[in-house]
């Protein structure tokens, strides 16, 4: 297999392909200001400051920089959603990376923190954001140290703070860090957390953070990788950026492939064109399934994404096509299961995750996720009943009424049900708790049945109070 790896960037695999956000990864001192400056550092900021904020915003719009946090919403469009004449506006950087399978933002913060800082500055300049809060996941000690060091250097060197590079552009970047709660990655929960509260999502429509966010003010929430794209974009221009990938999915994106492949790792791939097959089997990618086993199924976009089968291998990293096949690209995380995998046990780890991470706000998530978890545990331990299988499905209906997204399958003669689903909860944690269960149950029901012992079921009457 070819493609270089570097101990200081654990997991990253370079290859013969364009690199936008990982361009400095081969340097073990990429995180230092010195190296950063020696490798075009802060050139993008200078290019931006040479233009009017409006023009920079226009560039980001026409480059269609897709959000890398999960929703895939174009950054340029999001910045434009702030209400006219309402000030101040804030930037909140989402560095809470904790979606199962996802590993990229931490790498970007540890290896190339100045690139992120430069990206934040460009965003603040273009969208008129008066203060930036860089929220790093609590459990990332090294990332916090690297970013803190980089910020201290950048302040000292005049890249951050008052009158940046002698211009009238002034903004503070405040390093903030969490304390362990996956749901805080959801942008409205992130804002609650940043306000010092319990990280419980706020209801969005009709008030998205861009309209009413931090302290009730217009707030742009962007993912680390999203912002890390901006320096390169500003330095090399829209054409260079859109020359890579497809019109609807330009540029590159970082994808972490974990699980049963020969070379798990983090790859910066060309957006829109690279297929899952290339990624999993390609020689300068993962190089195939471990021990040359058969591929059983894979999670295409993080723990919240419905599973795919080998049937979907030839799909490219293109949101529309993927959602038509019943899943999402999410946060760029592919988890691979070979044919030795106990899918019930695998799904259980995800249910347990979401049940544990529920914030407790919505009844269906708070009560439903642990309910699913208990049934799945029972099934994994071999104490399940046939009734349990229907029950899993019925609980799923309570969280996500209607047909749940799933891919097409030749083996099962199954038509795809496109993404997304209806939901009774505020955020996606509730539905995500059911996603893996539904995928496993829909695509591998026989494996559940194999684990079942017959037992009868006694309903408990709700009318117990008469």
């Amino acid at each position: 297999m070819n493609g270089a790896t570097y101990p200081h960037a654990a997991g990253f695999v370079a290859g013969d392909r364009p690199r936008i956000v990982t361009s400095r990864f081969e340097f073990d001192d990429a995180h230092s200001l010195e190296r950063y400056l020696a490798t075009d550092g802060y050139k993008g900021l200078q290019a931006a400051l040479a233009k009017s904020p409006v023009d920079v915003h226009a560039d980001v719009k026409s480059a269609t920089v897709l959000g890398r946090g999960g929703a895939g919403f174009p950054a340029g469009v999001k910045w434009g959603l702030t209400p006219q004449a309402v000030w101040p506006r804030y930037l909140v950087v989402n560095g809470d990376e904790s979606e199962p399978g996802t590993y990229k933002d931490r790498l970007l913060m540890e290896v190339d923190p100045h690139q992120l800082i430069e990206g934040c500055l460009i965003a603040c300049y273009a969208a008129g954001l008066s203060q930036c809060f860089l929220y790093i996941r609590g459990e990332m000690a090294v990332a916090q140290e690297r970013v803190a060091t980089a910020l201290n250097e950048a302040y000292a060197a005049g890249y951050v703070g008052k009158n940046i590079l002698g211009s009238n552009f002034s903004v503070d970047i405040v390093l903030h860090w969490g304390a362990g709660a996956y749901v805080v990655g959801e942008e409205t929960a992130l804002i609650e957390s940043l306000e010092g509260n319990r990280g419980m999502p706020r209801l969005k429509p009709p008030f998205f953070p861009a309209a009413i966010g931090l302290y009730g003010m217009p707030t742009i929430v962007n993912n680390v990788e999203t912002l890390a794209n901006l320096p390169w974009l500003m330095q090399h221009g829209v054409e260079a950026y859109t020359a890579i990938g497809t019109p609807t999915s330009p540029g590159t994106r970082m994808v972490a492939v974990s699980g049963h492949v020969k070379r798990p790792g983090v790859y910066e791939i060309v957006n829109g064109t690279t297929t899952f097959r290339e990624l999993l089997y390609g020689d300068d990618f993962c190089g195939g399934i471990r021990d040359d086993n058969q591929l059983k199924a894979f999670v295409p976009g993080g723990g919240s994404a419905p599973w795919f089968l080998p049937d979907q291998l030839d799909l490219p990293f293109e949101a529309k096509l993927v959602s038509a096949e019943g899943s999402m690209l999410g946060s760029g995380a592919v988890i691979v299961m070979d044919d030795t995998t106990d899918v019930v046990a695998a799904a259980y780890t995800l249910v347990r995750f979401y049940a544990h991470e529920s914030c407790g706000k919505c009844t269906p998530c708070r009560e439903g996720a642990p309910w699913l978890e208990r049934i799945m545990k029972r099934l994994v331990d071999g104490h399940g009943t046939t009734r349990d299988l229907d029950q899993l499905f019925e609980i799923g209906q309570m969280i996500c009424p209607g047909e749940f997204p799933h891919p097409s399958s030749e083996r099962l003669g199954l038509e795809a049900t496109p993404f997304p689903f209806r939901m009774t909860t505020i955020c996606f944690v509730g539905p995500s708790a059911y996603t893996a269960v539904d995928s496993a149950l829909t695509l591998f029901r026989d494996e559940f049945e194999a684990k079942i012992v017959q037992r009868t079921f006694i309903p408990v009457s709700v009318g117990a109070n008469q």
């Binding site: 709660a181 319990r198 209801l203 429509p205 009709p206 049940a355 544990h356 991470e357 529920s358 914030c359 407790g360 706000k361 919505c362 009844t363 269906p364 708070r366 009560e367 439903g368 996720a369 642990p370 309910w371 208990r374 029950q391 019925e394 209906q397 309570m398 009424p401 209607g402 209806r422 939901m423 009774t424 909860t425 505020i426 079921f457 006694i458 309903p459 408990v460 009457s461 709700v462 009318g463 117990a464 109070n465």
Partner: protein, 797 residues
């Protein structure tokens, strides 16, 4: 649409400008006109489509937590399930509360909520009036498929002296916690932990000690929160209830009074939009215990050889009439004084006013105990509570509203919180509202006029006063300061804010009614302090205590004592034996709140009805009936024989009360606002000598819970009184060379006493504050009500 409209034909189409605040949408197939900003759940309810809910509460912000209110909402992109408590109406929105998806979702939420609910309804206070139970039947699946072990907690735990929490029953709707934080401003209960382990908790050693804690019990949609005074007392279906008005203070919150087997069991707040929004303070909510107290007088008492002994009404009334007749013979009608009457109904006050003025013929009648404000405070252009809570500026020169008029405090707090109003507070001691006040101007007793006048030099204040309507909330901030200062303050405020309206912050339940009904001095009559001095000098032959306790309530304790001692004949009308009426010659047992119907008048002049829910204790009877009977014995005739007669007589004879007829009040649930014809108070400024800087200016005011019978006779509340201690600013304590918690000698012109001194930075430097009528040394001993202010020397030992 009628196209052959003649007007149209005439070529002049009728121009109907569309109301910009109107939003037209469709709910369950029918067109609905809602107002901009309305939530779907509220708009639907208004047109009769009730959407089930648990966390939503119309008086609090929406959180969309329980998900019970999910309905199908189509805003053009096809129907989708949304929480109707979070979505505001939009033009052409199509709402379906009955779609398959919506009904299924609601059913699911119920099943989910019951997953960890103990279903112990048979032993739950809420059983029978429980939204969860009700909606489980109306919107639930009928069976639970949850066969696992439920969540378990130790049950129940006391989160305050009055409220217990059963965490197993809790459905985490965030209502109590939102109330504590948003409405009461006492965020002492909060969620803790996460996800399925989430629970409501208080912090160790910081209980939910809020004056408003009872409201959380009322709004809890399950039986998780229960109130000690009501726990296990009755099942909702045994309760018999009537709407009434709380007369604990003069805000006049609307309530329902509930009883079972002729015993009062519970008061619940009723949402009266102009007044209390459904809230009650704990004192008003729980003091029904006093009505049920064993210490209540059940029969009249007459003094027989030094002992008060129960007797018949004939004997008692005859004796009372005899005492009055004697007094008249000895000293003339004017030697008879009637004080009190601010705790009864309008009808009680009216009957007694007629008895005193017309039948007995004395002008010496007064409703307050020298602890109130001038009666002419009612003569200013009067504001309503709504006007105050919507004014651009509120000028606050009153006692601490949180302590004395708690629900008015909630209304003004809301106004400040939601940025409708800015509060300019004049404070001798920082109050519950200081945190919300835009400006708190500290001053010393006797200095209100200067303090207010000085505001014209503050451009911010001048600018603020010009921004819109101004309401002055005025009352007796300091019992150690002459009541006249209240009027002086208002007059000064009207100088800087001409045209401002005034909301009198008077405390005692029906004080406004008593004044308006005529329990005030007649021609040449004396106010209460003059009456007291006359009595002390032996010039009052008969003193009538109409439901009042001067020894407890007179700020000047010594004067009260001398008044009692100097009165050869004392007749009391009361529900309990008190310090004061214990020395009476006749005590006529009065019916209490909840035992008599009638009307009451709140601070804004709002007349509302009182319900008789239980029969009076023993042979006790309403004050008005006693007045009617006494009048007869005295050869007069009030010409009334029922409460309704009196209500009609009031409407007919009291200027400004014409609207408050029996029939009008029966339909007007929020009552009728009536203002009498008193002239406004006039300024009477007496220059006072400078405080010499060894002395401290005394501030005395009330706390919510004190020794008043209503509290003292309510076991659940009695222990909530605070100690009678001297509060001073920490720096002033240092200055007198003492320390927090030490004993100090406090000396006024009157007397010298020992108090424990407490550091309290809410006390303005140079002042010293003592709570009134609390267990411990009586600060009243140091007050001379003839003085404008009381300065005290504080010495450490």
């Amino acid at each position: 649409m009628n196209t052959t409209d003649p007007a149209t034909d005439a070529g002049s189409p009728p121009v109907v400008p569309p109301d910009p605040n109107e939003v037209r949408l469709t709910i369950n197939g029918s067109p609905v006109v809602a107002r901009k900003g309305d939530l779907v759940i509220a708009a639907a309810e208004r047109v009769g489509d009730y959407i089930p809910r648990f966390c939503y509460h119309e008086r609090m912000s929406s959180v969309g937590m329980c998900r019970m209110c999910l309905v199908d909402i189509d805003t053009g992109r096809g129907p989708g399930l949304q929480a109707s408590c979070m979505v505001t109406v939009a033009p052409d929105m199509v709402v379906n509360t009955q779609s398959q998806a919506a009904l299924k979702a609601q059913e699911s939420i119920i099943e989910m909520l019951l997953v960890n609910h103990p279903l112990d309804c048979p032993v739950c206070d809420k059983g029978g009036e429980c939204p969860l139970q009700d909606q489980a039947y109306s919107h639930g699946p009928g069976e639970s498929r949850f066969v696992e072990e439920k969540r378990h907690f130790e049950k129940p735990i006391a989160i305050s002296d009055l409220v217990l929490l059963d965490r197993e029953r809790c459905i985490l709707c965030d209502r109590c916690t939102r109330f504590a934080d948003e409405v009461a401003g006492d965020a002492l209960i909060h969620f803790s932990s996460r996800g399925n382990d989430t629970q409501i908790t208080t912090f160790p050693d910081e209980p939910f000690a809020s004056y408003f804690s009872g409201n959380t019990v009322q709004i809890c949609p399950v039986g998780a929160l229960t109130a000690k005074p009501y726990r296990f007392k009755a099942r909702p279906w045994d309760l018999d209830q009537s709407e009434s008005t709380c007369t604990t203070c003069a805000v006049g919150c609307r309530t329902v009074v509930q009883s079972s087997q002729d015993v009062l069991l519970r008061y619940q707040g009723v949402d009266s939009d102009p007044v209390n929004w459904g809230w009650l303070c704990d004192r008003g909510r729980f003091n029904f215990e006093a009505v049920n107290s064993d210490d209540r007088l059940g029969a009249p008492l007459v003094r027989v050889d030094e002992e008060l002994q129960p007797t018949t009404w004939n004997a008692a009334l005859a004796r009372a009439a005899e005492l009055i007749t004697e007094a008249k013979a000895v000293g003339g009608a004017g030697s008879i004084a009637v004080i009190g009457g601010a705790r009864g109904s309008n009808e009680d006050a009216y009957a007694w006013a007629r008895l005193a003025h017309d039948v007995i013929g004395t002008p010496n009648v007064y409703p307050q105990m020298g602890d109130g404000a001038q009666i002419n405070l009612l003569g200013f252009d009067r504001a309503t509570i709504d006007e105050a809570a919507n004014a651009a500026t509120v000028i606050l020169m009153a006692p601490d509203l949180k302590e004395e008029l708690p629900v008015l405090y909630l209304r003004l707090r809301d106004a400040a919180q939601k940025r409708r109003s800015r509060i300019i507070e004049f404070a001798q001691k920082r109050s519950g509202l200081s945190a919300q006040a835009w400006k708190t101007i500290e001053y010393h007793a006797g200095g209100i006029t200067e303090a207010v006048a000085a505001c014209i030099n503050d451009p911010d204040i001048v600018r603020q006063l010009a921004t819109g309507s101004v309401v002055i909330v005025a009352g007796r901030a300091n019992l150690a300061e002459h009541p006249r200062e209240v009027g002086n303050g208002v007059i000064a405020a009207l100088q800087i804010a001409p045209g401002a309206k005034v909301l009198p912050a008077m405390r005692r339940g029906n004080v406004v009614g008593a004044i308006e009904m005529g329990l005030v001095p007649g021609d040449g009559g004396m106010p209460v302090l003059a009456i007291a001095n006359a009595a002390a000098a032996g010039n009052v032959e008969c003193l009538v205590l109409l439901g009042c306790d001067p020894l407890a309530d007179f700020p000047d304790t010594d004067l009260a004592r001398r008044m009692m001692a100097g009165s050869p004949r004392i007749i009391a009308i009361d529900t309990f034996l008190t310090k004061s009426n214990a020395s009476a010659d006749v005590v006529l047992a009065a019916a209490a709140y909840g035992e008599k119907s009638g009307t009451t008048t709140n601070i804004e002049g709002r007349v509302t009805t009182l319900a008789a829910k239980v029969t009076p204790r023993g042979t006790s009877r309403p004050d008005w009936m006693i007045a009617v009977e006494l009048a007869e014995l005295l050869g007069g005739d009030l010409g009334v024989s029922s409460v309704d007669d009196l209500t009609e007589a009031i409407a007919a004879n009291i200027d400004g009360f014409g609207e408050a007829t029996v029939s009008a009040l029966r339909v007007a649930r929020d009552g009728v606002v009536c203002h009498g014809t008193l002239p406004p108070a006039t300024a009477r400024i007496v220059t006072i000598d400078e405080r010499n800087n060894y002395d401290y200016r005394l501030v005395v005011s009330r706390k919510l819970y004190d020794n008043a019978v209503g509290t003292a006779k309510s076991p659940s509340l009695a222990h909530l009184t605070v100690a009678s201690e001297l509060h001073m600013h920490p720096l002033d304590i240092e200055r007198v060379g003492s320390t927090d918690g030490a004993d100090v000698k406090v000396t006024s012109k009157r007397a010298s006493m020992v108090f424990k001194v407490v550091a309290d930075d809410s006390v303005v430097r140079g002042s010293a504050w003592v709570p009134f009528n609390q267990p411990g040394p009586s600060i009243g001993e140091l007050i001379d009500s003839a003085e404008v202010i009381t300065d005290v020397r504080v010495e450490s030992f």
